[in-house]
Symmetry: D2
Subunit: 337 residues, 4 copies
């Protein structure tokens, strides 16, 4: 940790600062020059509260050298984490395709869609029971009934199910869900993350619209700090000035997160762009740069979808995407299923 | 609502679309030209699910004309809303200064700070009991004890108190809190917003780091849809590419939100910039463009603060800010207190 | 074009507005409802100045339906444009790899690098003679001498050369350059674009750091409006809040721009990320989603590079990238060379 | 300057790096700990090319401590720079209002507008002769004729004139222009900045839409490095995800730039927001936080403006803004005129 000191500080303030640093048991290397006074702190700086240091009257700025995340840091855990979701593995060479509708709407819809995506090659079923909608006047999901319907679809097709949690008090309803999704808007709902850290369920953690890769890892760290290491990261687009696509898919996050962390990474091209014709090219791109799974919205009848129909693929379109996905995955050395 | 149709659509798809529109009881005006086929929908389009329309096979794009927010829309409620917080009014000409530490740390700290900010002219006391921290290893707040200490400070100074809620299950602890804050990271925690809609407490709703003004109003709408109209909006900076300041304070939101909505608006220059020397100039700017209140971080000893000390003002600095704030408020026709 | 009118306008203002619209020879369809007064304009609205309309006292808002770009619009030119650069074609199935150093530094450096990238499979040589540097104190390029050295490298290797222009008055120096690059910072240097429109050289137009896809096409339109149709678009990352990578590579722009326009698209993963280890995965991703060419920084000795050495590949690293690139290109049906 | 070294580097690479550092005549302080190897460089590091260092095989990262700008740095020039524009001073307590149309259109328009803004209290006249327009099909300005008309308006009213330059080769036409504007899109047109550095005219340098405050200062540095110290900075909004306003006005830049630099700062609320009703509140806010001048678009007849009419004020609206501006300026201790 590098501490840049203010110029012309009072000796008593500086002395007080030095004894504060000494209390952390770090060694201080004074590397001050003519224009700047700088301390290098040597030793284990991970326990130092950077905010507290920054607030000291003698401090101009702090530059951190160590990463603030540990459990998910690849430095301390070089091998890929492989998460097992009811027999379907994500991570390393194991590759999965998660598909299904934005919202679970009724039994026919979810079972028809489940059967269609399975036939096309998808290996996990997604479907929203609790839906985060910008407007309070929009369809909010079927809640407990939606989870019941997903479980029926699981029984019918044998596919593990993925669905989003929006509040801690719903956690009991997720007892039979195979992979619990934390949506982008809840990536920094820290109370929810803590609660999930005490669960043993695999967690799919979506990157927030305005969150950096480091913040995504810090949120993963919240879950892992509670003892749950089954965390999968999800890149689903960030918010930028570009309005042609719903968000800007940050594919550089795929190889970079996998240098920073050992956790597997899923890419969601449907939410990232909101444009069905972009799902195929961006799915292939995601695999080519190392994604461990894809998450794709498919609806048996998008024109009747109660949410996000515009970005959903029809079963026919999804089959076409899967034909290309299977080939690219095989070409890129990934094993689907 | 304007619907732009795809070219060369099948007649049957178009017919199905037209009967769908008819079911909404809106009138269709066909304004197609040579290059584009366009329908204008006349009537009450507020019940139409725009996502569903967009998913129809014949639809290329939809352009909305009506605003999607109603309860907070100034069009339907031209007078300023004035929120009363234990006798302190925010809105219209009524102006308040909310001040206090980022986190409540102990009894001496909160009472000393409360007395100092009151003496300088602040009218409400802020302090975090539940703290949303990026790192799970950072101080997370004193929780219930923090609220107890705030209540002691309230008793000692008579100032109404403001503190942040992070989860629905903590709501009971907020029974004696005067103004409940929803933080930027929870602006779209819709389950929390719904729960607060059923409360009768005034709510301070902070704009999310990646949220538009319209989305802020939609979140206010969630609270108001539950019957709670005591909502105060808070501009606290959005996330941009600029890294010199922690966030980019969007002061245009102050006059623009107050054209769009009748709800009062608070500006938080401390969190927006993270730089204590910017608090005074931006406080004055906020008042000059119409803010109904300011929210400023003050700590009796920033160098010992357990969170955000670097951006906190000392009591001395705060007195200097308040001197200027009082004059600017009077100049701008606002009544403090 | 859809015109949303203000409520309660004066009759005389409205009459004046209607006669103004009539002067454009467009038909007005009045689709006003109870809450909104709306005109649909039918006919050729491409000559209407949208700013002028928006400034009329009766106008609340305008929503455009037609795209503002024509020459580069795929609607009016469905076939892919293929640009021929001294025998190397870019567009459709024709795929090229442009490689070389950020800056031309001396004869040995450029010729050694050119030979190395050619041996690895690159087909065009890049190198900066005029360098846009943030700091006036940084190396600014060899200027005319740099172009001379590029021409020597072209003679030595037979590779067509690509280099950036920064001012109209340098245009004569580019007489023997095969592909003239317009850098991101000059994407809206409209005077330069106009001058290049009167040239017959192929132009590589890089997307600006804060520019939308539509604005990129409007800048292409500036060049094409002058009669030069040999325009190649380049996605090189946009500026966002994420700081781990230099910019955020927007790969969705590749398939989307190629839906919007018939012009070929190059991807530059070196400038987009600034991180050498990301060049390979993002090059593969770019090909997988349809890029027509790649632009990669290679330096015979990055540790001695006078600019951008940190993001340059060594010849060894580049050979490794090219091995993977050749396979992915063949897999994706692209023909290199 | 702090250099973070890679782990497990070869001794020969490290030795080569150390002798490279020695060649810069800086002292190396080794502050390596167990997990990180770090060098602090002590002495004048301003001549070190940070890119070159970053490209060395042993280097993981570099953290700069010194600011990269010098001539405009307040550290080395504590007093405010005051720029004199034909007798009108900007900087320190001297405050001006620059007003006029987006484009010069004809003699009546510019003279009528000039007289109106002067009568209302504006002290400099703005008007575009060369217009940067996104579309090649939009009005591009009257060019030399536009400057002629501005000079007529100057003669008629006595107001100094401000107009934008778009290309070096037009510089001769600006001989009688009092303040030359560099637009946002040309903020990093470095060849143009260099040419203006050799001029003795005052330069108004607008911040680019995606440029940081530090980059704005680096562009000022380009002009000053040529010997021209008459540089005025202009905050006119940056590009963010928010679409309600044309750009996001970053008012924190006003006090922060004036801590970083001694150059005066102008705020342009018209271009920043594109919404006439926001000009008054944001003008007052800009003054309240320390702006040295305002730049406001006014058109004698916005409904007939050939560009940006929608954001222009009418003379009546401008008079109302000026009434408030004069009072706020006096209140904030600024002297207009």
């Amino acid at each position: 940790m590098i501490v840049i000191l203010k110029q012309n500080t009072k000796k008593e303030d500086l002395d007080r600062f030095i004894s504060m640093l000494n209390s952390y048991h770090v060694k201080i290397a004074d590397i001050s020059g003519e224009q700047h006074s700088i301390f290098g702190l040597i030793g284990d700086t991970s326990k130092i509260d950077i905010d507290l240091l920054r607030a000291q009257p003698v401090v101009a700025d702090i530059k951190r050298v160590q990463e603030p995340y540990k459990s998910c840091n690849r430095k301390f855990h070089p091998e890929d984490t492989i998460v097992d979701i009811a027999g379907k593995k994500i991570g390393g060479k194991h590759f999965q395709v998660i598909a299904g509708p934005c919202s679970v709407e009724n039994e026919d819809q979810i079972i028809e869609t489940a059967e269609a995506v399975k036939a096309a090659g998808a290996t996990l079923l997604r479907g929203g029971a609790f839906k985060p909608r910008t407007s309070p006047y929009a369809f909010q999901g079927l809640h407990a009934d939606g989870i019941e319907l997903l479980l029926k679809a699981k029984k019918a097709t044998g596919m593990p199910i993925v669905t989003e949690i929006m509040a801690i008090e719903h956690l009991d309803l997720f007892a039979d869900v195979d992979l619990i999704q934390v949506g982008a808007r809840n990536m920094q709902n820290f109370e929810l993350l803590k609660a999930l850290g005490h669960s043993d369920k695999p967690i799919l953690l979506k990157r927030g619209l305005a969150n950096t890769m480091e913040e995504l890892l810090m949120s993963a760290e919240y879950i892992m700090a509670g003892g749950n290491n089954n965390v999968i990261l999800c890149e689903r687009g960030i918010r930028t000035f570009e309005t042609k696509t719903r968000n800007t898919l940050d594919l550089a996050a795929v190889p970079l997160l996998s240098q920073m962390s050992h956790l597997p990474i899923v890419v969601d091209p449907s939410h990232a762009t909101g444009i069905p014709t972009l799902v195929k090219p961006l799915s292939l791109a995601a695999i080519a740069c190392g994604a461990n799974a894809l998450m794709i919205e498919v609806h048996n009848n998008p024109a009747k979808a109660l949410s996000d129909g515009a970005q959903s693929l029809t079963p026919e379109q999804f089959r076409d995407v899967m034909d290309a996905v299977k080939k690219q995955a095989a070409f890129s050395g990934k094993e689907l299923g």
